[in-house]
Symmetry: C2
Subunit: 351 residues, 2 copies
């Protein structure tokens, strides 16, 4: 081994999930939206002035932030934009979790939390979800260096109501509480409405799911101005110009076309109801899903077997070979047609 | 002060440089390319399938990396792509500079180096450039936790030849040496040709200058596969999907149209020669510029006065109120017409 290798940061080598992309396949493995982005995006691409690409983008992302601020009825200095919610969350970890005390997050949750903690050398402690995979809120009352949890949680899809979230925020006045709401538009009210009362609450959302823009990499955080300023200070120190010219322009359209956005969300929720019903008829077990996916297990069929059988038919769902959840499948809600094909396959398979 | 503020990472608050963008202005302050991106970009925007935007991009950036690999005659596993060279350099700092020994870089150099070191808590030591603003290579021979320097250096614009770079790399077998070649296409041979011989050499370049794509945020690093793998391990831990679908597609075109690229670079070099000559006739002092900017001072006029006078005429150049360089202007090379306007103004001003 070469000596320079001593100085290389040790991380758990992570291999990104497979992103196969054959037109024939049914891709229900990464919680993408089955519907295209807002129709106005086409016209923006057609009229995009390519000469602008030679110039640096606006580092403060003012147009996009103002559009989000208007949509959520907050001021522009309460919005932070980044390269997907992964970038936003990573900046939040780097900014707010500087303490000798461990941060707390659930044991079954978004897999990036322990990875960011490791990369930035932030101590952490996981709190087990209960036997129904629900977060136990009292576990998070005090004693930490910071809190982060998704609502709805991933990969369980379970949504907790606002008084549950508020209890956690209220019981942690001395640390920042980050609520990761990647899937909130498919669930219930957002914790954004608690922000006026709590200066330690940061809510993170994304364009990747409900806004059909996983490919544009846009995420954002909303919080009181002091939190957003602290994040901008760190962001400007690392890379001032993270959002490229096309993201800044196309992102605005995705927010402005509220009618299209709501229509897609409602379609996905209706398809989710139908799919949940059909899966239950087939004997699958799960609580009410809050996100654009269902996290289900079956008493008579091993999840790993189902995963492999589906994959052979070019139907991709997600399977995690991890403690407590290794008999579950995470199934993204696609179009009605895609879900019908999935259910037909399962019906035949279980005959 | 609230207690959660104790846990906020302390950074030097950085305010991004002004990016005014009025059609009438002459913008020579951020080293952008005056020419639009490759003509094929227009057609790619016209034919871009917006439905792709709902899907995650390829986290491994294979098409773009392969295109760069072909261009530089290296293998794909020797290329790392990020959100501008700032992202690439920041990942390199986080990946390679984990040591109790300080990293070394010049005292007059790219302003982000000390900022990344602070954010990631990397100790550092600056090495003064000599009285002609040249890097003193012997200062970098051993004793550090890592080395980073730009070639050509910024904001001086001075290029050092390959044997100079090789001496630094050769004398540091136990640490990674990062050569930041943002402006190399306007200068001389790239250190990429040294890579087969040195497993500790990482060369970083960007699409923001010579490839007219500051607005797309694309940077890249080239090094032996072990270095690139270490960076990917860290990148995938922070955010697997940093490069959006439009960057990945448009970036390929910027590399493939080599004829257009070379033509733009040659035009800028010719304009630089003319401008340098005119500035010298007016009494400005500077050595041979290597980048797409000239870093000049005048014995009879204060740089801050010239900066203010130019700005009043809507001609923006860059002025740094910093030790050793506070009597210099950094002037980006624009079009012939823009530079003629600049020179005409200076001629009148100095009459």
């Amino acid at each position: 081994m070469k000596l320079w290798q001593d100085k290389v940061r040790k991380v758990v080598p992570y291999t990104p999930g497979e992103q196969p992309n054959r037109p024939s396949m049914i891709k229900l493995n990464t919680n993408e939206n089955p519907y295209p982005p807002a129709p106005g995006v086409r016209s923006l691409l057609d009229h995009f002035d390519e000469d602008r690409l030679r110039l640096y983008p606006d580092p403060a992302c003012r147009n996009l932030n103002q559009t989000l601020a208007d949509y959520y009825h907050v001021s522009e200095d309460m919005v932070f934009t980044g390269v997907g919610s992964d970038d936003v969350l990573s900046v939040a970890f780097l900014t707010f979790f500087n303490s000798d005390k461990p941060i707390f997050f659930p044991d079954i949750t978004y897999s990036f939390y322990p990875v960011w903690a490791d990369v930035y050398r932030i101590p952490y402690e996981t709190k087990p979800v209960d036997e129904n995979f629900r977060i136990v809120k009292e576990d998070y009352f005090g004693g930490s260096g910071g809190i982060v949890f998704p609502n709805p949680n991933a990969p369980t899809s379970y949504y907790e109501n606002l008084s549950f979230v508020e209890d956690i925020v209220k019981n942690n006045p001395d640390v920042v509480v980050v609520v990761d709401e990647a899937y909130i538009d498919f669930a219930g009210p957002s914790a954004i409405e608690l922000i006026p009362e709590y200066d330690n609450l940061l809510v993170v959302q994304t364009f990747s799911k409900s806004r059909s823009m996983a490919g544009m990499r846009i995420g954002y955080a909303i919080g009181q101005p002091a939190l957003i300023k602290a994040m901008n200070d760190v962001k400007y120190s690392i890379n001032s110009y993270t959002m490229n010219q096309t993201s800044l322009v196309l992102g605005v359209e995705a927010v402005k076309d509220e009618a299209y956005f709501k229509q897609c969300v409602e379609k996905i929720k209706a398809t989710r109801s139908w799919t949940a019903n059909e899966l239950r008829k087939l004997g699958f077990k799960f609580n009410e899903p809050g996100a654009n996916f269902i996290f289900a297990s079956h008493p008579d069929y091993k999840a790993s077997d189902l995963f492999a059988a589906l994959r052979e038919k070019d139907i991709y769902v997600r399977y995690f070979s991890l403690p407590r959840i290794d008999n579950y499948l995470r199934i993204t809600i696609g179009t009605d047609e895609q879900m019908q094909t999935l259910i037909e396959f399962l019906k035949n398979y279980m005959k």
